[in-house]
């Protein structure tokens, strides 16, 4: 147990260190001045420039610079944006929760719909119902997310006019930022009609969440179905059946638990796709998340923002992946290395 934990902690720290080193090297790789890329401040004169160089240890070796860079990262000085001139930490602090919120609702929806439907298809494998679900999931899995989001906008926003087009909440509601998660912020806000605001926020959430979760749900269904079919063929299911357990007992005690185990590490891979899709969908719905922010940053060549944004997103994804991996290892210690199920 302690060995596993320490292994994962070492892995986690090493990966983050590699990421930090990559983000540091980006300051040199990006076009333009290293100092400006690193700080986001354009020096007005030579005196300020020399002072900044001294402060960021640019006159010493790369290792010293990197050490100072790490120090600054931990201290929370992430530099300033070229475009807005605001501290990057505040900007990311606003944008990242919005993405996490969107992605987690989509993941939740995918789990709530995908696993039961997948189980149903797996239990009724090779029947018309199974073929129907399987084909539908294949279609859902093949949608390019940007096109799906555009179709949703065309149909639901422009033609039917039942849901709003963009943003997180109507401008009529003045919600102060406390947690960064809009639904929580509404609950915490005073002086507003909470139920109205809640309804409005949910309407804004509907389309982006649906667009992202269609793809994740489809792959969830396929993974669960495959896993259930694999478990059904195992000898212990036959043994359970011959002991006279009822269908429900077999399903909950034997099939479900064993079928969910190989799905868990695959969920870690899903997170990567999910975040990519969330980032693309955000740009279409003007969702003020990290994806939208990063893509605006690349359009405007805001190098300090890209440097830190990359670090923030990559660390978030890797933290989640490693946590899921660790969790998987803890609940299933028999597994030497995690294996991946097939679709």
């Amino acid at each position: 147990m302690i060995r596993i934990l320490s292994r994962y902690i070492i892995l986690f720290v090493l990966t983050l260190l590699v990421l930090a080193a990559m983000s540091f090297s980006l300051a040199y790789l990006f076009p333009g001045d290293v100092l400006t890329n690193l700080t986001g401040i354009t020096a007005q004169n030579d005196i300020q420039r020399n002072a900044l160089i001294k402060q960021f240890r640019l006159d010493s070796g790369y290792l010293v610079q990197f050490g100072y860079y790490l120090n600054e990262l931990f201290a929370g000085n992430w530099g300033y944006s070229f475009i807005s001139g605001l501290p990057l930490r505040d900007e990311i602090g606003l944008a990242l929760p919005a993405t996490i919120e969107l992605a987690s609702y989509a993941m939740l929806l995918a789990i709530v719909i995908g696993i039961p439907v997948g189980c149903y298809a797996g239990l009724r494998s090779y029947t018309p119902a199974d073929y129907g679900i399987n084909s539908a999931s294949m279609v859902g899995y093949s949608f390019p997310v940007f096109w799906l989001a555009l179709l949703f906008i065309l149909v639901f926003s422009l033609e039917l006019n039942i849901v709003p087009l963009s943003g997180r909440i109507s401008l009529l509601f003045d919600i102060p930022d406390k947690t960064g998660f809009i639904l929580l912020d509404i609950l915490l806000a005073d002086n507003i009609d909470r139920s109205l605001a809640f309804k409005d926020a949910l309407q804004h959430l509907l389309l982006p969440t649906l667009a992202i979760s269609t793809i994740t749900t489809a792959s969830m269904i396929r993974l669960t179905r495959r896993s259930v079919i694999d478990v059904l063929n195992r000898p212990y299911i036959a043994a359970a059946r011959s002991r006279g357990l009822s269908r429900w007992q077999i399903f909950f005690r034997h099939i479900l638990r064993n079928a969910l185990l190989p799905i868990l590490p695959l969920m870690a891979i899903q997170i990567t796709t999910l975040i990519t899709n969330a980032m693309i969908v955000e740009t279409l719905f003007s969702w003020p998340g990290i994806g939208n922010w990063l893509i605006q940053a690349i359009y405007q060549r805001d190098y300090p923002a890209l440097r830190v944004g990359m670090l923030a997103v990559a660390s978030m994804v890797i933290t989640l992946t490693i946590l899921i991996d660790l969790f998987n290892r803890l609940i299933d210690p028999s597994r030497e290395k995690y294996e991946r199920a097939t679709v």
């Binding site: 294949m138 390019p144 990519t276 980032m279 693309i280 893509i295 690349i298 994804v317 992946t321």
Partner: protein
């Protein structure tokens, strides 16, 4: 006198023949293969199929609706875009760029992945473990993020976005190859060839690679559909192929400006991306279940 018996002659179909037989038995998979074949034909022979030059602008024919609508003409099968370019020709050339690029990318990623994966699988101990963990970490970084960084360093363009997607695809091949090689290395037929004095290269080329091809084909189909979506997504976000180049995602992004006036400019390129990806997935799925059935029978 022993007679030559014509009917009792045993015929053992080769593994590939059996796979093909199982594959053909599934109608959906076969239809998928035909659709994929049509798109592949479009990609290969785009200049022969396309009626117009995809870049030729025509101010006399702006935003003509597709031929099945009331105002459409048959000269422009899928209508024209805001610059009078023929949408059908653009989509045909777009298939060439998007689909062709994706195939190329998958082949490059596969070559790289198999090489590194085999080396990592044959090695053991600390080095293998480091490769293992670093790859898992790399695999977790979203493609879009890698693409954004590469575009920031090298600038926009189809080739630069290809680097990003190759970087994102390769770890999966490495992972599967490494797992496969490791499990094969423990088997007895490898031990037998090793006792016969085969070196690492001979082990790989004569014993492991022939067994690995099926896995590679299946993984290749998965990677191909991911590559298609990624190439078009980057084109759509204006980070990959740049506008004059007919790339399906870029065509879609172009059409977005006139989406309300001329919805076919958004619908048709998206539909063709969707159809190609669907066909790839259907064929990949059919292939996988054919392989599975072949083993289980």
């Amino acid at each position: 006198m022993p007679q030559f018996s014509l009917y009792e002659e045993e015929h053992h179909p080769s593994p590939w023949q059996r796979t093909w037989r199982e594959f053909r038995a599934s109608h959906i998979a076969f239809v998928g293969l035909i659709v994929l074949g049509v798109f592949f034909f479009f990609a290969l022979f785009a200049p022969l199929v396309a009626p117009f030059d995809p870049l030729q602008q025509n101010i006399n024919a702006l935003l003509i609706p597709p031929s099945w609508e009331l105002n459409g003409t048959i000269t422009h099968l899928f209508g024209t875009d805001a610059l009078g370019r023929d949408v059908f020709s653009r989509i045909i050339y777009g298939c060439r760029v998007t689909f062709g690029t994706s195939v190329l990318l998958v082949i490059i990623a596969m070559g790289l992945g198999v090489t590194i994966g085999t080396v990592a699988g044959m090695m053991s101990g600390v080095r293998s473990s480091i490769v293992n963990h670093l790859l898992d970490a790399l695999m977790a970084i979203p493609t879009l993020l890698i693409a954004i960084i590469i575009v920031a360093v090298l600038g926009t363009g189809l080739v630069n976005s290809m680097w990003a997607i190759t970087l994102a695809l390769t770890p999966q091949f490495i992972h599967y190859t490494r797992t496969f090689v490791r499990s094969e290395m423990k088997k007895e037929y490898i031990l037998a060839s090793r006792l016969d004095g085969a070196n690492a290269w001979q082990l790989f080329s004569h014993s492991i690679l022939p067994n690995m091809i099926e896995m590679l084909v299946v993984q290749g189909s998965v990677a191909l559909s991911i590559a298609m979506i990624d190439v078009s997504a980057l084109g759509f976000l204006n980070l990959g192929a740049q506008p004059p180049l007919p790339e399906l995602g870029a065509i879609l992004a172009d059409g977005l400006d006139v989406a309300y006036l001329a919805p076919w400019n958004v619908a048709l390129p998206g539909l063709s991306i969707f159809l190609i990806v669907l066909a790839i997935n259907v064929v990949g799925d059919g292939l996988r279940s054919a392989l599975r059935k072949r083993v289980s029978h």
